[in-house]
Amino acid sequence: MSITRRLFVSGLAVTAVLPTVRAAHAQDKGLIAIITPSHDNPFFKAEAVGAEARAQELGYETIVLVHDDDPNKQSEMFDTAIARGASAIILDNAGADATVAPVQRAKDAGIPSFLIDREIKESGIAVSQIVSNNYQGAQLGAEEFVSLMGEEGPYVELLGREADTNAGIRSAGYHDIIDQFPDLEMVAQQSANWSQTEGYEKMETILQANPGIKGVICGNDTMAMGAWAALEAAGRTEVIVVGFDGSNDVRDSILNGGIKATVLQPAYRQAQLAVEQADQYLETGSTGQPEKQLMDCVLITSENAGDLETFALSS
């Protein structure tokens, strides 16, 4: 949190106080604004780091901002980017509906937006929307979950934030697989809003009402970490937990025999790709790609967890 705030504050300070500093530091190609949810979730931090590194390699100045999933804050950040005369915006957005207006505003100001991770509900406004193939990834995670469960038993699903399309699509992918097995019974399905704390609290409550559960499938890794902590605290480490994201935290848990599996989203590469498309678009007027693009996910188990580092597989 402290890192996030510092970056955010320093971003504001640069904007408000030192608008001319840019000229002193500016490289040839202008400014790229990188806007993501809170870096408390390492997934979003990896995106910001990946995008920033690639942008600087390509000769851009960068400003990294955090909207904390607050559409109002996000809107202010778009105003900041527009006021700073950014060349492009790399965005992991704060809501599929609420983000349409600010992206349009940037477009009207001549600033193209390149979206990663989450879609918005309109096409033709952003230049690129590059998202993980969540449906494919969720089916991979669900197949592993079903196999770990031995195709039977009571289980729980922790869902992500409802306003986020990714919560719905992952759940749909899970159920397209799991619901084929009539002996797998979902005894509770609740949103923990992508949050580790909420994952812990929800899991504690669910466990009291359903002490017989055998598995928990989660819409992301931070909720899986929360659920696992609650299960550990209750001495229920035999419960099977599967996450989604491929974070280093869950990797370590898998390697230590805790959480059983997750699904890697290539977040680092995705952010870099968005910057590359921004660069190509700024140089040539086209990315050469359709607006909406899917990137496949990879199943992570104890077999390949050792190759995972910061949302990328080495091999």
């Binding site: 879609e119 096409s123 397209d176």
Partner: protein, 216 residues
Amino acid sequence: MRQAILSGALACLMLPAAACKIVPNPDPDAQSEASAAQTDEARMAVYVEDRWQGEVLPVITDNTVSYEALQAQLDEGLDAAGAAHGLRPEGEANPWNFVVTGSGTVTEAKLDSRAAKMQVDMDGDGSADVTLQLGPVIRGTALRDAMPFIVFTDFRDQIEFAKLARAMNDRASAGLEKPEGDVVGKEVSFTGVFTLRAAGDTPEIVPTELSMGGAP
């Protein structure tokens, strides 16, 4: 809707030189009314039914390669085979999809499941080389992703796009005459689509044509 068709027709009249095709692209109001009345599932089922004969099956016919020819290509690498016969959406790291036709001997079958499958030996060595997914529940998005006219950008979001994949799979499964009884050891002929992520993976084929007992 009638208005949309009329204006489409008018547009055609006014553009005599251009090739004309009426694309159902109603104005936003009409669209929101329509989507309020229909679930994603229902809308995607209609979308698929409208295009199955006229667009989907022609893509399959035009891109079909024999199992043996494809295997020979795959020996030279997945990308070579993909370049020669594959279909895939644009974008980084999208896997190849292939339309393949062939016949072989059933080595194993699970026909009483919601996700019915048959394993088929294609080269006569007694071990299974491909899986035929008979459904009704079919895994993957091969059929959708093999269609050049289907572009993700044209759909509202991943959820609608996933329902489209389901609807394509449902339509393929519904069009098959399902084998019954003991099929192990019998010959089966098929044409179908599959996604291949690595050259050595077992193809999990979604058949669009299937017949027991040898070539049709």
